[in-house]
Structures are given as structure tokens and as C-alpha cells.
């Protein structure tokens, strides 16, 4: 094997890691907002991702059966719809479940686990137990080869672009918008924020819903890479939680960095070892680091 070939394989393996990075980051972002900003553990987060993935699948089915001409353009609208449905779901869940449990984080964990079981069974009953994948528009298929022997899949680049836009959007919204201001105020001092006239309960609900909506977009990204089944979300939930804890809970930048680190570690070790051992190695490494440095990579400097 010559050196350019090695380089190509390295680049492609790295890019495979980037796709995983994109899904993990989108999942982690939603969780980081909910967990880091509100202190709520949402075990059903993976199922919100599945909602997004199924939305894309259903819309693509609709498009290909009723309006074959629209198959080329349905994707962006489906992403918006995926966000919307997951957002709506999150809103309802916060209203019905989470808001009663804010003072008991471990109970939230159990309750949302129950919720995730119910959602999985609902997917199984109403959509079907089999794994499905949407018919992707032609422009998402194929690959781009800037050099001979180097193939970069287009869907991977699309997912990466989507992730970048979403991440920047979330960072911008938290930093600049009224909602972000309210969230930051509520996080740093709930009582005081209430006193200044911020409706913290409404802020919580909106935050939770936005976090779930981003999970829906993660699902949209996920469908371009893999197929969706009722338990797809559960496969990612532990990884996403590790992304958030590893990055440091209060820091979105930390989430980005840790998602990148975890995805690349896994992808690179997968090249040398069997898939399961790569996973074991990556997870053990993270757990070990978290044991030594429990506050994560980017801890907030505020003394509490």
C-alpha cells in the first residue's frame, strides 16, 4: 500500500467519523440544552430522534407515492417538519410529565425511561417493527471524489452542513435572542429571574421543546446514514449522555469538542479493531477520564 492510498483511507475513515460526530453532536446539543441548562435527565431523548427519523421516512413515502415529482425537493421541508413534530412532542411531555418532577432529577430519569418504553412500543405498533429507510433524493446519493481513490459521500457532507448550521443557530440563539437571555437568566438564578418578570416555567417548556426539536433534526440527519427502527434511539442515548457529561454540562462548546473526540476515537479504533471492541475501548476511555475528571472537559468556573 502506497502512502497516498493510506492517506485516502485515513481521510475516508476520518470522514466516517465526522458523520457519527454530526449525529452525536445534534443529539448532544439537545441534551446539553435540557440537561445542562435545566438539570433534567431526558431518557426519552433517543425516541425524539426516532420521531424525526420516522417523519422523514413517512414524508418520503408520501412524496414517492403521491407526488413523484417532489421527491427531489421534499427533504428540506421534511427536516423542518421533523423539528416541528419533535418540538411539539417535547412541549407536551414537559407539560404533562417533566414540570411535576423538576425537584426530583432521579425520578425524572425513571419517568422519561418509562416514556421511552411507551414510545418505542408505539413505534412498533403503529409504524412497524422492521427497520426502514426513506428514499433519498438523487442529489443526496453518490459521492464526491476530489482525487482518484478518495470518495467522500455526499450525504455525509450534507449531514455535516446541517449540523454546522444547527449548532451555530443554537449558539447564536442562546447568546443573542430573548429566549437565550431568559434561559441564561433562569439557569444562573431562578428566583431572581422570576422576580424580574421572566416566566421561568414558560422558558423551561420552550427550552425542553427546542432540545427535543433538535433531537428530531438529529433523526433527520440519522436517516441519511443508517436505517431507522423502533429502538434506534436507544442505541444512541448512552453515547449522547456521555458526550454531554464529557464535555462539561454547562458548556455547549464542550459538547462540540467531546462529540468530535468521541466520534473520531470510535471511528479510528474501528479501523484497527472489531466494531464492538472499538466501542468498548472508546466508552471505557471516556468513563476513565470522567472518573479522574468528573466535571468534564470544560467546567464552568463559577463556584456554586
Amino acid at each position: 500500500m502506497t502512502f497516498p492510498e493510506m492517506l485516502n483511507i485515513g481521510l475516508m475513515q476520518g470522514f466516517a467519523g465526522l458523520s457519527l460526530f454530526a449525529v452525536l453532536l445534534l443529539m448532544g446539543l439537545g441534551l446539553a440544552i435540557i440537561f445542562g441548562q435545566m438539570g433534567v435527565i431526558n431518557m426519552a431523548h433517543g425516541e425524539f430522534m426516532t420521531i424525526g427519523a420516522y417523519t422523514i421516512y413517512l414524508v418520503s413515502n408520501l412524496a414517492s407515492t403521491h407526488a413523484p415529482g417532489l421527491v427531489a425537493v421534499y427533504f428540506p421541508f421534511a427536516i423542518v417538519l421533523a423539528f416541528g413534530l419533535a418540538f411539539l412532542g417535547g412541549w407536551l411531555v414537559e407539560w404533562g410529565l417533566i414540570r411535576h418532577l423538576y425537584k426530583r432529577p432521579l425520578d425524572t430519569l425513571l419517568a422519561t425511561w418509562g416514556l421511552s418504553l411507551a414510545m418505542q412500543q408505539a413505534f412498533r405498533s403503529f409504524i412497524g417493527p422492521k427497520e426502514v429507510s426513506p428514499t433519498l433524493p438523487d442529489w443526496l446519493l453518490g459521492s464526491w471524489s476530489p482525487a482518484p481513490g478518495l470518495d467522500i459521500p455526499i450525504n455525509g457532507m450534507f449531514v455535516l452542513g446541517l449540523t454546522t448550521v444547527t449548532t451555530l443557530g443554537v449558539l447564536l440563539a442562546l447568546g443573542k435572542s430573548r429566549w437565550g437571555l431568559r434561559v441564561r437568566a433562569t439557569v444562573s438564578n431562578r428566583t431572581m429571574a422570576n422576580a424580574t418578570g421572566i416566566d421561568t416555567r414558560k422558558t423551561d417548556r420552550l427550552t425542553f421543546a427546542i432540545g427535543c426539536g433538535i433531537a428530531g433534526m438529529a433523526g433527520a440527519a440519522f436517516t441519511t446514514i443508517g436505517s431507522t427502527g423502533p429502538t434506534s434511539g436507544q442505541l444512541y442515548i448512552v453515547d449522547s449522555f456521555l458526550v454531554v457529561t464529557f464535555g462539561g454540562t454547562a458548556s455547549l462548546l464542550g459538547t462540540v469538542v467531546s462529540a468530535f473526540g468521541i466520534a473520531q476515537t470510535q471511528s479510528v479504533t474501528e479501523f484497527f479493531l472489531a466494531g464492538s471492541m472499538a466501542k468498548v475501548l472508546t466508552l471505557s476511555l471516556i468513563v476513565l477520564i470522567l472518573m479522574i475528571r468528573p466535571q468534564g472537559l470544560f467546567a464552568s468556573k463559577v463556584r456554586r
Binding site: 432521579l106 436507544q234 448512552v238
Partner: protein, 403 residues
């Protein structure tokens, strides 16, 4: 006479006696051996559930990785039984006789080094307790010494559960992979599959469970139990009083792990196989719900909770498989939202007072736990997060210090 009564009241032996009668007399008379064997299987989960009562109810830290300890104990016992089941005579059609069949399928030609201790029963029995305890000590020591608790601890233990499951499934040649270890037949030549053996194993299981409950009761009523409750509710005050909070937590976590290991070993003996499906995240969280349904503060309640949930699971998955997960979900949500203290809470708050009123006398002799049920409920939320040390584990304003 008074001394006996004090003893009974102190350790709540009355409820334990009722449970013993139910398990040792009523159920064996009422059920055939197949169902009784099922009950025995459920009771092995109860070991995990009472461990969770200690760790979660009393210690205030939720472990989502108890299945790992259950599995380690179970695998240790299963490895011993598997080695006995694959003696050179019965496995002579293999290319390497004398090693377990799955090793032969995976082109292993000799027994791996870490299997060697499991040729002897005493070493196996030690491993059943020691291996889970050791892992719990490593995890617990690293986390609690750094004052990690609450949700962070839950996430880390869950990750450990995932790691162990993936490892077991991935290393097919050493562990039997997804199928686990099957065809466990005899223990030192004693056939564990006969009806008689099943009865004996059932009673061994009941006896061990009762002993574990007594041990936990003894710890709860002693100084350690009081301190555990205290550090769950006001961790910092206990620390300022000069106690090492972490050591107590590590101790109770190791205790729970050891009991889970014993449960796992009894599981392998009674059921005749062990597989990764009892190790991973899903079974680990299910074990938490056993304790939650029974009541996270009640040892005896945890046993009832385990039995009820598992009866429900068996009944529904036999008759209405689609409904079971919905029901399980309702259980999770209902228990956390409406009955945080589970069955034991309902008993203490509703049944007992009514019973006392009906008998026409005020409930003075109710154990003190019923009176502190309220603070306990509020405290569950505070104590758990006090040790988190991390940022914004709670909506602001109610952190351990400020409360």
C-alpha cells in the same frame, strides 16, 4: 417478653415473618414446581432490588448498572457449571474436548487463563461475591471520593453497563456471546434440573434472601444507616461533623453489588443459563423499577415489588405481549409521579392508619418511618444532588447548601 417485642419492633421482624411464611409455605403449596421455579427466578432479582433500596433509598445515589453486578455473579457461577457440563467425555466430538462448546465453535484450542479459577467451587463462590464487589469498589471509590453523585453517577453506571454488555457480546469465544452460557446441568455431580433440586434451590434462595434482608435491616438500624440517611438529606453537614461521606457510600454500593452477585449466581443455578440480556441497560433500569414499585425505602416492599412486576411481566407477555411495554411505561411514570414511596408508602400512609382507626385506637405504635415519609420525599431530590458538585444539576436556588 418485652425484649423480644423490642427486637421485633426494631428490626420490623413482623413484616419479614409474613414474607417468609408467604415465600416458604404459601407459595410452595399453592404453585406447581414450574411456577415455583419462576418465583425463585424472580427472587434472585429481589437481591438486586434490596441492594437498590440500600443504595438508592438510603444512600441517595441511583445506580443504573446493578445488572452488571448481577451478571458478574451469574457468569461466575455459570462458568463453573459450564466447565463441569463440558467434561472431556461429553464433548469428545469437539475438535478440542474438555472446553465449553462455544469456545470450540470460536476456534479456541485451550481454556483461557481467567477461566481456570472456575474449576473449583470454593474459588467460584468467592468470585461470585468478590468480583462484583471489586468492580463496585473501583467505580464507587473513584466517583464518590470526587463527590460525584446524583445524575452523573447514574449516567456513569449506565455507561459501565453498556461497556460490559458490549464486551460480553463481542468476546464470543470467551463468554458465549449473545447466547450466553447454556446447558448448565450439574453442580458437583448433583443434577440441578430435577424437581427435587429445584425445591432445594428455591429454599436456598429464600433463605439467602431473608439473611440479606436481615443484614440490611441490621445496617439500617445501626449507626451506619442513620448516617446514610443523614448524608442523603444533608451531605455537607455530615461532612462537617467529621465523617467521610464517600466511605459510607462506597461501602453501601459494594454491599449492594455483593448481594446482586449472589442473586446472579442463584439465577444461573435455578434457571440453568446466563446471558447478556440480564446485564445490560434495559434489565438494569428494570431492576430499579422493582425497587421503586415496592417502595425505595422498604426492604420487604422491594421483594413484593419484584414479585409483582415480574408476575405482571410474565402474565402480560404471555397473554398481551403488545400491551406489556405500555404497562411498564405506565408503571414507571405512575410510580414516580403519584407514588414515590411505592407499595410500602401506600401501606404506611393509607392502609395502616385506616386499619388503626377501624380498630378504634390511634396509630401510635406505627414505626417512626411513616412520620418522616414527607421530609424523606422532599429530601430525595435534595440529597442526591448535593454531592454532584457539578453546575446546575438542579433548577437554581435549591442546591444543598442554600436549602
Amino acid at each position: 417478653m418485652n425484649a423480644v417485642r423490642n427486637l421485633v419492633n426494631r428490626y420490623q421482624l413482623a413484616s419479614l415473618l409474613v414474607l417468609t411464611v408467604l415465600l416458604a409455605v404459601v407459595l410452595p403449596l399453592a404453585l406447581d414446581i414450574f411456577r415455583l421455579n419462576l418465583v425463585g427466578k424472580y427472587l434472585t432479582y429481589a437481591f438486586v432490588a434490596i441492594g437498590l433500596v440500600m443504595v438508592w433509598g438510603y444512600g441517595g445515589v441511583l445506580s443504573l448498572g446493578q445488572g452488571v453486578f448481577f451478571g458478574l455473579g451469574g457468569y461466575a457461577m455459570a462458568m463453573f457449571l459450564k466447565l463441569e457440563a463440558s467434561d472431556p467425555v461429553t464433548t469428545k466430538i469437539q475438535s478440542t474436548p474438555g472446553i465449553p462448546d462455544f469456545m470450540d465453535w470460536n476456534q479456541l484450542t485451550e481454556l483461557p487463563l481467567f477461566w481456570l479459577p472456575f474449576k473449583s467451587l470454593p474459588l467460584t463462590l468467592i468470585a461470585v461475591v468478590a468480583v462484583p464487589t471489586l468492580l463496585a469498589w473501583i467505580v464507587g471509590f473513584a466517583m464518590f471520593k470526587r463527590r460525584v453523585g446524583g445524575v452523573y453517577f447514574a449516567i456513569i453506571t449506565q455507561a459501565v453497563a453498556l461497556i460490559v454488555t458490549v464486551l460480553i457480546i463481542g468476546q464470543q469465544g470467551y463468554t458465549g456471546g449473545v447466547n450466553g452460557m447454556t446447558d448448565l446441568k450439574t453442580m458437583l455431580g448433583w443434577d440441578t434440573r430435577t424437581d427435587e433440586a429445584k425445591y432445594i434451590l428455591y429454599y436456598v434462595c429464600v433463605a439467602m434472601l431473608m439473611a440479606s434482608i436481615l443484614l440490611c435491616r441490621w445496617i439500617q438500624t445501626g449507626k451506619a444507616g442513620t448516617l446514610l440517611l443523614a448524608m442523603r438529606d444533608k451531605e455537607d453537614r455530615v461532612r462537617f461533623s467529621g465523617y467521610d461521606v464517600a466511605n459510607f457510600r462506597v461501602f453501601v454500593f459494594c454491599l449492594a453489588a455483593a448481594m446482586a452477585g449472589i442473586g446472579g449466581a442463584l439465577f444461573s443455578l435455578q434457571v440453568g443459563f446466563m446471558s447478556p440480556s440480564f446485564v445490560g441497560i434495559v434489565p438494569s433500569v428494570e431492576m430499579v423499577i422493582f425497587a421503586a414499585v415496592g417502595g425505595r425505602m422498604s426492604l420487604v416492599g422491594a421483594v413484593y415489588g419484584t414479585l409483582l412486576v415480574n408476575f405482571g411481566k410474565t402474565f402480560f407477555s404471555e397473554s398481551f405481549p403488545d400491551l406489556w411495554l405500555f404497562l411498564m411505561a405506565a408503571l414507571f411514570i405512575g410510580v414516580t409521579m403519584a407514588f414515590p414511596m411505592g407499595l410500602a408508602g401506600i401501606w404506611e400512609d393509607h392502609v395502616r392508619p385506616r386499619w388503626a382507626r377501624w380498630r378504634g385506637k390511634p396509630a401510635i405504635d406505627a414505626p417512626p418511618r411513616s412520620t418522616d415519609a414527607e421530609p424523606v420525599r422532599a429530601a430525595v431530590s435534595r440529597g442526591e444532588v448535593g454531592g454532584a458538585g457539578g453546575p446546575s444539576a438542579l433548577p437554581g436556588g435549591i442546591s444543598g447548601q442554600r436549602a
